[in-house]
Structure formats: structure tokens, C-alpha cells
Symmetry: C2
Subunit: 158 residues, 2 copies
């Protein structure tokens, strides 16, 4: 884990501090059944996210978190230090996949790697950084991959 | 809106009922400041999603919803009838982009179009359907595009 690399005291790395291959690791978040049902009740009220007994007879074969819940938890882990970017974690978009569902009792952690760093041609104060973030459960299985394009500021002139 | 096309009474379209070019429209959801701050407080606690005054001086130039909040609201609109798929809306992943932020007071609606329908070779009971879902605000601006791969069951033998 290279979070300590060259970390700006004002809250993260500027575009100039980031390079292809750089890696970050987040803290962890423990997911329980109450969280899964609360998120699903609000945003994804389908039986396999809400009801244990019904979920057993679906494709998920048991209660599973909404993929968007896994995405939201991943974002929280990135914001809490898993992606220490100056100015915050601001995504323009990306590709997401959920190879396995998040289950009650899972402990999630996000490991990220910088894939590309491109200064903006039109906006000299910023650039675009491509980051692949893999969200792991406590068994080392990947529950989400996210390849995101982040808008990252350049270091302001002193 | 062609939701009434050939709708299965048991809760949605099977793979056989879907075809390229088919369109669906969701209901609407009104987003307010309290919702934006509640979601951000839990999943994306960054100043531009939490504090009006601070947000004015960021890239967002005012309070904006987390992109993941827009995604979660989009999912709710799809589940509530915007994507009437038999067995539910089950995504394997997709591509997401947020061309504009969701703002307090926005009224969101999702319009979807089927881009591809492919029966599974290995699993005769299902297939993969690619759907592009655009989330609009009340000014007709697109706040999110999502091109998702959904797992859709075939109609069971009678």
C-alpha cells in the first residue's frame, strides 16, 4: 500500500503526484442484513435484496445486496481514504461489473490502481485519471470492479 | 411508451418478449436537498454533496447529488416499472456516465431502449439483454446514461 507516497497535507494527490501503476488500499466496511434491506427498501426493492426465504429460490440463492449498494459502499471506502485525491473523488463515469453478490456478513475492502493520467488540453487546471477499483470480500473474492474516470486538479501555482 | 406491448401478468417481459429498439419509460422521482444530503452523509460525504455554501466554490458550483445517488434513484425507477423484466432487474454490470449533476428540486425520469438480446449458449433458461437507460431531469437534460447488461429469464415451458 503506497498511500503514504507523496501525500498532500491539504487532502490528497494532485494530478502531478499520480502515475500509472500507483496503488491505493481502502479501509474496510462490514455489511450486515439490516444495511442490505435498508438500502434495497429505498432504492432496489426486489425480493432477493429484501427477503431471505424468497431470495433462496432466485438466481442469487440467498439474500444479496443490490449492486448499487456495493457501489455506494465502495464509494464511501474510496472517499474515506481509498482514493486520496486533492479536491475529492469526482467521477465522470466508468465501467462497473458485479462478478459476485455482496452477502450479509461480508467485510469489504477496495484496492485501486491508476491506469492512466491525462492532462486536459482545454482546461489547464485539471486532468483525467483512469482508476480501476476492485472491491473484495473477506474471502478475497471480487464483488465489484469499477474502472472510473476521475477529474483531478493540478497543483495550484505556489 | 410501449410498456403495454406484450406484458406478462406475472410481472414482466421474458427474453422472448424483448426485441432491439423496444422502449420503456419510468415514472418520476422528485429529488430534494434532504435526500441528497442523507445519501451523501452515508455513502459519499464530500462537501459538494453536503454543504451548499462550500459547494458553490467547487467544480459543481452548487449542491449536487452523488452520482451514485443518481444511479440508485435510476434503479428505483427501473424497478418500479421502468424496466418491466420477468424475474426482476438483475444487472451483471455496465457503463455509466454522469454528463450533468442532479440538483435539489430535480424531477428525474428514466427512458430505456433495448440494444441487444442474446440467448445464453450454456444456460437454456436465460439470456443477456443490453439496455441503454437515460435519466432525464425536468429540463430534458441527461444526468446519467447507463448501458447495462441484464440477465433475463426465458419463458418457462407451459
Amino acid at each position: 500500500m503506497s498511500n503514504a507516497d507523496k501525500h498532500d497535507l491539504n487532502g490528497g494527490f494532485y494530478l502531478e503526484d499520480l502515475h500509472v501503476g500507483q496503488r491505493f488500499a481502502s479501509g474496510t466496511h462490514a455489511v450486515d442484513e439490516a444495511q442490505i434491506k435498508a438500502f434495497a427498501g429505498q432504492f432496489d426493492p426486489q425480493p432477493f435484496h429484501l427477503d431471505d426465504a424468497t431470495a433462496k429460490h432466485t438466481m442469487f440463492a440467498g439474500l444479496a445486496a443490490s449492486g448499487w449498494h456495493t457501489a455506494a459502499i465502495t464509494m464511501r471506502l474510496l472517499v474515506d481514504g481509498g482514493a486520496p485525491i486533492a479536491g475529492g473523488v469526482i467521477g465522470a463515469g466508468g465501467e462497473i461489473a458485479w462478478p459476485k453478490p455482496t452477502r450479509p456478513g461480508d467485510i469489504l475492502q477496495v484496492k485501486s490502481e491508476i491506469l492512466d493520467v491525462t492532462p486536459s488540453r482545454s482546461r489547464p487546471d485539471r486532468g483525467m485519471v483512469t482508476v480501476r477499483s476492485e472491491t473484495f470480500n473477506q474471502r478475497g473474492e471480487i464483488v465489484q470492479t469499477l474502472t472510473a474516470k476521475l477529474i483531478v486538479p493540478r497543483r495550484p501555482a505556489a
